[in-house]
């Protein structure tokens, strides 16, 4: 069958369309999903394109089902993913927690909207806590916070490889702005860039008769005693901590001599970067540290950079969800920290620059 993308080309499209193309390019076999704004168009594009490339789709009865059917698709050995937002993300926590416990390499694309509850369909960064630490688990998840359409494309493809290589549920954390806005990017066939898609293997349904030709797969997520569970969770944590250094990603902007260090993630990084430029032009030594992976968090790297600053400014379109991750990482550091919270609202570079200038 013909490849969905050959070579590389510059396109101008919405973020939701980008995700659909990335999944196609990544050889994803099947998508399960349920309507919720602002990510619906991922399904709209997938349902139109997928049949032309022999891929599957099922619209489920709700997000609980979308998450569990995705687990099923992955258990069967196929590249499967789903996408959601807000209240739908809440419902995904049950299945994603099962994936955490059972090491099922699911991929979930989250386009954050306002919260709590139904709130708005528009935008926020208010699903950080839930996406990183939702469910009744220990947050053994891989979470990429994208800020541009190029990243949305790159990291959606990457998430399938990271998930299948390291066997932890993987998330692409976007937002409603990224979902609905149109900007340019380069889409490509991963093979063009030397990216080889990590092989998938079935958990169930392998060849041969169980008990005769091979051992049966007996998969569970229930344990009987405290001691048993402790051993299981310890192993999971150890496995996660072992691979974390290979997965952690972050970016720094003019942090070498920064006195004011802006901490932000996702699309807010664009405002932060622009603010740093503006401030530097005015002689203010501003810098910006951006975690790209919120899980695993670039703790060591942030500590080193933050220790050199005179003041930290945590910026997010939420009421401190990102700050909690930051504080967890920076425990013990005495650098003064301020916050700029705008739950459910976009943040511009002008207001950040004003905020910092006003504070000086």
């Amino acid at each position: 069958m013909e490849k969905p993308i050959t070579g590389e080309k510059r396109v101008f499209m919405t973020g939701n369309e980008v995700v659909a193309w990335a999944a196609l390019a990544a050889d994803v076999d099947i998508m399960y999903g349920y309507p919720i704004t602002p990510q619906n168009e991922i399904m709209h594009y997938w349902t139109r394109l997928a049949p032309k490339h022999g891929r599957g789709f099922l619209q489920t009865e709700d997000e609980i089902s979308a998450g569990f059917t995705t687990c099923g698709g992955v258990l069967s050995g196929k590249r499967a993913f789903t996408a959601t937002s807000g209240p739908g993300n809440i419902l995904m926590q049950e299945s994603m927690t099962m994936a955490e416990m059972m090491r099922i390499p699911t991929v979930l694309v989250v386009q954050q909207r306002g919260g709590p509850s139904t709130a708005t369909v528009i935008y926020s960064q208010q699903e950080v806590t839930m996406t990183c630490y939702g469910g009744n688990g220990e947050g053994l998840r891989i979470v990429y916070s994208t800020g541009t359409h190029q990243e949305l494309f790159d990291y959606t493809i990457k998430s399938f490889n990271i998930a299948w290589k390291y066997r932890f549920p993987t998330f692409v954390l976007g937002d409603g702005y990224q979902a609905k806005m149109r900007e340019s990017l380069h889409i490509y066939d991963p093979a063009e860039k030397g990216i080889k898609m990590v092989e998938t293997t079935p958990f169930v349904g392998l060849a041969g008769t169980p008990g005769v030709d091979r051992e049966p797969a007996h998969l569970r997520n229930t344990y009987n005693t405290e001691e048993e569970l402790y051993a299981v969770v310890s192993d999971l944590v150890a496995a996660y901590e072992k691979i974390a250094p290979e997965i952690v990603e972050y970016q720094t902007f003019e942090t070498e001599d920064a006195e004011v260090l802006i901490l932000a993630h996702g699309i807010v990084t664009r405002a932060a970067q622009a603010a740093v430029k503006t401030l530097r032009a005015q002689g203010i030594k501003a810098g910006h540290f951006r975690p790209v992976t919120l899980r695993p968090f670039p703790t060591q790297e942030l500590r080193e950079v933050a220790a050199k600053a005179k003041k930290l400014l945590v910026v997010e379109s939420a009421q401190g969800q990102f700050q909690k991750l930051v504080k967890d990482a920076l425990y013990g550091l005495s650098v003064p920290m301020e916050s700029y919270f705008k739950p459910g609202q976009g943040i511009t570079s002008e207001e950040l620059a004003d905020q910092i200038k006003g504070g000086k």
Partner: protein, 188 residues
């Protein structure tokens, strides 16, 4: 044009605001410039003011939303009231002259406030259906984000299939673009 240009276009649903915004940014993108466009959206499927936020630059664009626009075009009374918040001393504010009783709601802090007879021109000289194309002409003349050729190319790309069926439409739309630009140029 190296600097970043920010446009906010607003009107009632059905006035073609999002179409115009989409064509402008695509034209800019096709010319190799950086462009970012995001529509506003709430829960209702219909009704409510439709706002399009466009940014065009030669460098990568920052946040999708902005506080103040370089150009605001408002096509209804609700749109005028809705977009006042994007106006500062550097903003050119254009509204359609057909909007009644709007004087007290107009911004008082803009660089310039222009009333253009886009709807009237459409009705009298062309056809009401190209009202939004006149607005597009006004927008590109007021900002210079793309030139007239680029605009015509973008229109052709979008509506070419309709033009093929009825070549008179091409003339009509191109004329609308030019008239919109003229309306603004005569005032700026």
């Amino acid at each position: 044009m190296a600097k970043l240009t920010k446009l906010a276009l607003a009107g009632e649903g059905g006035q073609g605001v999002q179409s115009v915004a989409g064509i402008i940014v695509e034209a800019a993108n096709d010319e190799g410039r950086e462009a970012l466009y995001i529509p506003n959206f709430g829960v209702e499927q219909r009704g409510g003011v439709s706002v399009a936020y466009c940014q065009i630059s030669d460098e990568k664009i920052g946040s999708p939303k902005f506080i103040y626009a370089d150009l605001v075009i408002a096509l209804s009374d609700r749109a005028v009231r809705r977009t006042k918040q994007y106006v500062n001393k550097d903003t050119v504010f254009i509204y359609d002259s057909s909007i009644e009783d709007i004087e007290k709601d107009l911004p008082t802090n803009a660089k310039k406030v222009l009333s253009i007879p886009a709807l009237e021109t459409a009705k009298k000289e062309l056809t009401p259906r190209v009202f939004n194309v006149i607005i597009m002409g006004a927008a590109i003349a007021a900002t210079g984000v793309i030139d007239m050729d680029g605009a015509k190319k973008a229109l052709e790309k979008r509506l070419g299939y309709k033009f093929e069926q009825d070549p008179k439409l091409r003339e009509l739309n191109f004329k609308a673009l030019e008239r919109g630009a003229e309306l603004v140029k005569s005032m700026l």
